[in-house]
Symmetry: C2
Subunit: 231 residues, 2 copies
């Protein structure tokens, strides 16, 4: 029935790749590592590694991200799966990409295990990466943009407290368009943003008020009021 013995199917491995996005200095950045191991030694890459045979995929993503970059407790979501027969020189390796958004300033990055370095790289400056990682990164970025339109995930990468202009600029960057300030603010009126008492400091213009996003209020608005995020 099969062209090969059933046991010959069980000769593949699979990996997870963790695409971590962050936002600072007006740019979206991805967390990359430099490989200190064959193959593609010294190439930059998305943090990722082989999954143990009895390990669940989300657990593997957490473990591997921690081993390579020191990041802990980052909840990731599945992106796409890449499985070209020759994408990995050491054998058949399917990779499942996961992604997450984090606040760059909330975490300390520390390369370890076989990662020689780890750093945030602006999406504008991505070099040639190991394996098919350029493709993985750009296809995951497309997914991110799609989610930015339909879910309030931008607040996972903005500072805990942000100005409305920072909020706006993130969308202007992602969708490569300028937005009208007044209209943007009207559009976000329905969102549960809580103003804080504090304002920007040390700016040579009127300081902006700082806001934070109320996740609780958002969840209950979705449940009770059928609220839908759309930007």
């Amino acid at each position: 029935m099969y062209k090969i013995e059933i046991n010959d199917f069980f000769t593949s491995a699979f990996s997870v790749d963790c695409v971590i996005f962050g936002y600072s200095d007006g740019e979206i950045k991805a967390l990359l590592i430099q490989r200190g191991m064959e193959p593609y030694t010294h190439f930059w890459a998305i943090p990722g590694d082989l999954v143990y045979p009895s390990e669940d995929l989300p657990d593997a993503a957490q473990r591997i991200l921690h081993e390579l970059t020191g990041l802990e407790n980052v909840e990731m979501h599945q992106s796409r799966t890449f499985g070209s027969p020759n994408r990995h020189p050491q054998g058949r390796v399917i990779t499942i990409s996961y992604f997450a958004l984090i606040r760059i300033s909330d975490f300390e990055i520390k390369a370890s295990s076989w990662a020689e370095k780890a750093m945030w790289v602006s999406l504008n400056d991505i070099p040639e990466l190991a394996f098919d990682h350029n493709q993985i990164l750009s296809s995951t970025y497309e997914l991110l943009k799609q989610k930015l339109s339909n879910e309030p995930i931008c607040f996972e990468m903005l500072e805990q407290r942000f100005t409305l202009n920072e909020f706006q600029q993130l969308y202007e960057y992602a969708f490569d368009q300028t937005l009208d300030k007044a209209n943007f603010r009207k559009k976000i009126k329905p969102l549960p943003l809580v103003p804080s008492n504090e304002s920007q400091k040390n700016v040579r213009h009127r300081p902006a008020k700082l806001f934070s996003f109320d996740y609780e209020k958002y969840s209950s608005a979705v449940k009770d009021d059928n609220f839908q995020f759309k930007l």
Copy 2:
């Protein structure tokens, strides 16, 4: 560095599962097969099977769908990947789900290989399926609904020529809401629908005009005019 030898990673298999959606009698249906093989013998399942070690994923999806159901030349798109360690009783098997929409009347379904039967099952009547296939099916249906809003894929499951009401009813079914006829027609005004000379036959009311969707015009509108489908 690893807890196991590198070669012990290469002990997994992976499969593709092909979620095929169709539309008839006012209901969205999925193509299911009855398994004639261990495990889950006689259970209904999404058509799927193991991928050969050197086979690309989209090729495998095409091959497997053809082997089990006789369907040929169905272009599928990737959905999600499912990889719980114990989802398959015979070993570690990751599955990548693919999906496609087809016109039920355009194809003849014929169970073969280890598929005992193959049939279209309304999404309202899905039984308990083999493996985690219920989960795969419902998560792929969510993806389908999302795409129905943003891409003109509904025309892949509607008859080649359809009435505007059939078009509307598909969306009413998928999103479980009734729509105003006049408003729906205003909304679809920008779409490149070509009226045919023919009309409905044998209905005991005014026959509706039949339309078809002009993919060429759509593509060029997307390119030249930055047109975006949204329903």
